[in-house]
Symmetry: C2
Subunit: 314 residues, 2 copies
């Protein structure tokens, strides 16, 4: 394990891939590994990319990463797939689209399926960010397909959160607005060659005008990722937000928040483990049988089981 971590710190791509798989699957000892890796983190800047399905997030990310690669920066991409908990697979389309990126030695791409509930995905994402950070990535992109609450929870802890919109959402923009207004630092109206792009951009600006006391008023720009138009403007906007965070000492706050969320989810995870299958705890059958003769009641049993669960398992 120590050798694997050493390889990671040396920038070995296969070591990075193996370690992400390990923490994702929670193999024995993964926590100790993460503790060790954590000491070597803090260098990466994390960018969350979200937006409604079909907005062209993958293409946009692709173009943005290629731009960043011209500066010879090392990039990690975690793509969160909207697949069912059963398939856990990646979206073929995304993989194909990002194909020429994946043969770039300076880019590491990983797709993650959205697994069950209870923060499993968030835990795996946070852990993977740490590995990519220690691996030496300058930028880490977290791309989520969709605007579900759990995905928003993940991207909102990024240093910069980018929302990719698309013209012609109509009234849906209202629905999207509610969940996303508070989390996006940068808005991109993609597919700007379509009708209504300027109108969508104006609608976003108007939405943003409703709030008066912005510490950092989100930046909006038009783009057409297909041909690269506007991607550089977005990159500049990201750098403006990054500078704002650094100058105002806000980057630290962002990372504290990210760690706070991670701690919460790690604790929840351990506590949920106590709950699993609790109705089949040892001895519960005998106790339940006694409820039939009123020797005991469900409330007293729940106290017994609760104490047992907590004393035995931690």
């Amino acid at each position: 394990m120590e050798k694997l971590i050493e390889s990671l710190l040396d920038g070995n791509k296969r070591a990075c891939a193996r370690l992400i798989t390990m923490v994702e699957n929670e193999v024995d000892g993964y926590e100790e590994t993460l503790k060790e890796i954590y000491k070597h983190t803090g260098g990466a800047y994390v960018i969350g990319i979200t937006g409604p399905p079909g907005a062209g997030k993958s293409t946009f990310t692709d173009k943005l990463v290629k731009l960043i690669r011209k500066e010879d920066k090392k990039v990690g991409i975690i793509a969160i797939d909207p697949t069912s908990p059963f398939t856990k697979g990646a979206i073929l389309g995304d993989r194909i689209r990002m194909n020429d990126l994946s043969i770039d030695k300076g880019v590491f791409i990983r797709s993650m399926g959205t697994r069950g509930s209870l923060g499993g995905l968030s835990n795996a994402t946070q852990a993977s960010i740490k590995v990519l950070d220690a691996y030496g990535c300058d930028y880490i992109f977290i791309e989520t397909v969709g605007v579900g609450q759990s995905e928003i929870d993940i991207v909102k802890t990024a240093d910069t959160t980018l929302m990719v919109m698309v013209p012609g959402l109509g009234d849906d923009i209202q629905a999207i607005k509610a969940g996303v207004m508070e989390i996006a630092d940068i808005f991109v109206v993609n597919k700007a060659d379509r009708d209504g792009a300027k109108r969508t951009s104006l609608e976003i600006e108007m939405m943003l005008d409703f709030k008066k006391d912005w510490e950092f008023r989100p930046l909006v720009n038009l783009a057409t990722a297909e041909n690269g138009d506007g991607v550089e403007t977005t990159y500049k906007n990201i750098l403006k937000h990054k500078e704002y965070l650094e100058v105002n000492n806000k980057l630290n706050d962002k990372r504290l928040d990210r760690n706070r969320l991670e701690v919460k989810e790690l604790v929840q995870r351990r506590i949920y483990d106590l709950v699993k299958n609790i109705e089949y705890s040892e001895g519960i059958d005998d106790l339940l049988a006694k409820t039939m003769t009123k020797e005991i009641d469900p409330y007293s049993i729940s106290n017994i089981i609760f104490e047992k669960a907590i004393n035995n398992k931690y």
Copy 2:
């Protein structure tokens, strides 16, 4: 409190109402009260009624209860409302429809809002069943509007579970089928004066035929609750199922299962209480600050917080 319980056991309706409110709102000491009440339970037969919105469950329940009341049996009704967690209110329509029942001294009706997640509603329902049982009800009806998972979880622990269907569901019957096939003991095709009632009934029978090894093959009948047609047949079907449970010693199993579910939910509830706001635990800010200088990592903090949560709070 002892006096209140005494009044309950004497069949005092106001004492019953007060005790249900107490356990529903989890006022101090409610657990001790439930333990005391539990000793006096076991006499009531619990009937769960579910089905898609608009199937006429309330009207059907109303007619069924009136029929049972002719035998001078005491009846409790718990109606679970599909209102938002915010309103917590009852559906006016149901209340009006059941109005003449609510002035019947032998009938106790209570509406419950569907509150947050995490079994709060199920806990409150189970506790209310216990109070109504000790109050002396011969039959307790749990009526849920809708076929959501949490509602199914509640009615499936009834002694007899009744599914009210309606003609013209079309393909939706397939969707309903998946969740309900395993839980219903009795099917009623209500509004049988409408086109397609017989066809719906046949479809249900065909669905049931798919499974060969029934211990008790669910019974199906047509009804038109509005004018009372078929309600007596349903009542007889319920009694057949009741007899089956009693003769085959299955009633005990049902009640064991109900208590098992209740224990599980009580334990979960206590554990969830530990999780609430865990990211703001005492001392966590100082620990998080140390993650910035790598003096500590989120994984070690989660262990500290987890142990603290478990040691302090139980």
